[in-house]
């Protein structure tokens, strides 16, 4: 195989991996949208918040230490050596469930029957609130997150691929990050678990019932409020997974919350109501973005990764407004 073709494969595989990362965020959107019709703009910030909490617990930071120090003039930072990773993840999950409960109680419950666009704007407000809250709680400096996942390039794969090129070619093998491979495995496990959960458990069935029709679900005795807490908790869990993956990859920092914006074109491609759609959409966007950057980018000055996904989504919307796998939009007066 020629080096040019091998390069193409490398870009393609890396695009798929990047797409998986987008899908992880998009998944949280789809879950909430299906169950409550809310387009949760705060999903990215939830991932950031989860990652911040995880790092804080892992390293034993005192929550709100900046604020406490500012008010009382004290100088506290840590309460100890920190928790083991497993315990920290569990505790973070508890925090995310608490967050879901508080949200249902104080925000969603008061916005029932509002127009979708009002709910959308409320989640933008929520995104700001959580961002400020997370920063206030754990500080806004860039933190490194390490939960023991392997990282760095895979040498084995590099050796394998180098053998594919001709002997005399100036080719040094493909670079694939081990972290991306773990992300792929985790994403597959997560999606399988979620579909099994929604297919075979009573709660899962209730979730699907609510997604289909709120009124009908209510009439057979499903508590909407309970379901919403569960859905937002699951979305919190997905956010935690996404936060761990993105945080290990590029550090826990503010820019993490911007991946939510990247998930939007993914959703548009895949449709707002389809879990497979989120995965496929993520893969298409990931691959498209990387290929465009590599092959079209040099012609127009590069850095088109920032907007390419949106323009693809925009062009796509014009032809199929409901996305690849979305439900058909029917409007009545």
């Amino acid at each position: 195989m020629s080096p040019a073709f091998l390069n193409f494969i490398e870009i393609f595989i890396n695009g798929l991996m990047a797409g998986i990362m987008y899908s992880l965020v998009a998944l949280g959107f789809v879950l909430i949208f299906k169950a409550s019709g809310i387009f949760n703009f705060a999903q990215g910030v939830m991932a950031l918040f989860a990652a911040l909490t995880l790092v804080g617990l892992q390293t034993g930071q005192v929550p709100f230490s900046h604020l406490i120090n500012a008010i009382f003039g004290t100088d506290i930072h840590d309460w100890g050596p920190g928790l083991p990773t497993f315990l920290a993840i569990l505790l973070t999950m508890v925090v995310m469930i608490a967050l879901a409960w508080v949200l249902e109680k104080f925000v969603l419950n008061h916005l029932i029957n509002q127009e979708p666009i009002i709910l959308f704007m409320a989640t933008i407000g929520l995104a700001y609130f959580l961002e400020g809250f997370g920063d206030l709680m754990w500080g806004s400096d860039v933190k490194t997150l390490d939960v023991g996942l392997p990282s760095g390039g895979s040498f084995w794969w590099e050796d394998v691929t180098r053998a594919w090129a001709p002997e005399d070619a100036d080719y040094w093998g493909m670079y694939i990050d081990k972290l991306d491979i773990s992300a792929t495995i985790i994403a597959v496990v997560l999606v399988t678990a979620l579909s099994l959960f929604s297919q075979y458990t009573a709660t899962g069935r209730a979730l699907r019932a609510v997604a289909d029709d709120h009124q009908a679900a209510l009439s057979v005795g499903i508590s909407l409020r309970k379901i919403w807490v569960i859905v937002w908790s699951i979305a919190g869990f997905v956010a935690l997974v996404a936060g761990i993956m993105w945080g290990s990859k590029s550090g826990v920092q503010f820019s993490l919350s911007l991946i939510a914006l990247k998930a939007l074109p993914v959703l548009i491609l895949g449709g707002f109501t389809s879990i497979p759609g989120a995965i496929v959409g993520g893969l298409i966007i990931g691959v498209g973005e990387k290929l465009a950057e590599a092959y079209i980018g040099p012609m127009v000055g590069g850095a088109i990764e920032n907007w390419f996904a949106y323009v693809v989504a925009l062009a796509f919307l014009l032809f199929r407004p409901q996305g690849l796998f979305g439900d058909r939009i029917i409007e009545r007066i």
């Binding site: 509002q114 979708p116 666009i117 700001y128 609130f129 400020g132 949106y310 989504a313 014009l318 007066i333």
Partner: protein, 358 residues
């Protein structure tokens, strides 16, 4: 007591359609205008001008533009920052290409340029709506910023990629550049905002404004009764972008003086404008001003209280501030989806009956 009037005794359509139907309110409005035009310029200093008044006026203009699109026509836009950038760069190109042009004309021309771009990015709104459209406008935001970063023609091939406003005058008085005096820049912005707020008020209560509101309330029904969605939506995009473009031009030339596109017109500006419209009141001219005033003054207030009074570090104050803004957005959407403008309306109702409410 404050509002002395009893019942509705209007005999003409004109009287019924008045912007300020109550006489005391008319007085209040004109008093504020006289204060703003004839008194403030004599007392204004550089701090008030740069920290409060000019940003308030510029953001009020931007919020007015977004309110026309989102509040009156119901099309949510997250591309305000990008359109402001179009206005700013159009302003810069016109300023440098025609040095003798009156600054007022420059600003209006940049508004027209932005209106053209706005129509282009408004085209998808004919097919998609709601948050799908919000995503489409995000495409505009990122694409426009990228364009202004990548093509040096827009910033006249300057080495730093920045655009810097040269000194331009109106009637021989400098309103941009480092030598402009506070009162001149203030009056310049105020005059533009006054004129175009007046235009906006009259647009929104006229035929075109009503077609926007029909589309907002239910687009299919509006189409059936004969409102052309094409014309209504695109005109809303055009007018809204016109305002936002002028705001961008003023933001760059009068307020900042020098701007770097990713920093000055990022996505946070889009959200800021949207928040102003939500907090101020969707579909209200007064609301755009109240929202802009609120979100411009809040950071100044926070900085003065927390950093200067209590001596807290600036980052803690900044975090508290975003938390509060986010919380307020949720609070307003829950308690008063029509924002500060509706609170003012309710206050007026109370004042009409005071001190003998029934």
């Amino acid at each position: 007591m404050l509002y002395r009037e009893a019942g509705d005794f209007k005999t003409t359509y004109r009287a019924d359609e008045q912007t300020f139907p109550i006489r005391s309110e008319r007085w209040l409005f004109w008093t504020v205008m006289v204060l703003a035009f004839a008194v403030v310029p004599f007392f204004i200093n550089d701090y008030w001008n740069k920290a409060v008044l000019v940003p308030f006026l510029v953001w009020a203009l931007a919020a007015l533009g977004l309110n026309i699109l989102t509040g009156y026509c119901g099309q949510v836009s997250l591309g305000t920052g990008g359109f402001m950038a179009v206005g700013a760069f159009a302003c810069y190109k016109i300023m440098t290409a025609f040095p003798d042009l009156n600054m007022f004309i420059v600003v209006v021309l940049s508004g027209f340029v932005t209106a053209g771009v706005g129509i282009l990015f408004g085209l998808p709104s004919l097919r998609i709506k709601g948050f799908y459209l919000a995503v489409a406008t995000l495409a505009a935001q990122f694409f426009l910023i990228w364009v202004f970063n990548k093509f040096p023609w827009f910033y006249n091939y300057s080495a730093s990629g920045q655009i810097t406003a040269p000194e331009r005058t109106i009637l021989g008085i400098a309103v941009t550049g480092p030598n402009s005096l506070p009162w001149a820049t203030y009056l310049f912005c105020l005059a533009i905002v006054f004129v175009f707020a007046w235009v906006a008020r009259n647009l929104t209560r006229g035929r075109i404004g009503r077609s926007w509101m029909a589309i907002r309330d239910m687009d299919i029904a509006a189409e059936i009764i004969g409102v052309s969605p094409l014309r209504a939506k695109l005109s809303a995009f055009a007018v809204s972008s016109f305002y936002i473009g002028m705001a961008g031009a003023l933001f760059f030339s009068v307020y900042l003086g020098a701007a770097e596109v990713t920093e000055a017109f990022g996505i946070d500006k889009s959200f800021l404008a949207l928040f102003m419209v939500i907090i101020g009141g969707l579909g209200s001219i007064l609301g755009s001003f109240l929202g802009a005033g609120f979100l411009v003054l809040l950071p100044v207030l926070f900085k003065n209280i927390m950093v200067n009074q209590f001596g807290w570090p600036t980052d803690v104050a900044a975090h508290l501030q975003i938390m509060l803004i986010g919380g307020l957005i949720i609070f307003f959407l829950i308690v008063e989806p029509h924002g500060l403008a509706q609170l003012w309306r309710l206050t007026k109702e109370k004042l009409r009956l005071w001190p003998f409410p029934y």
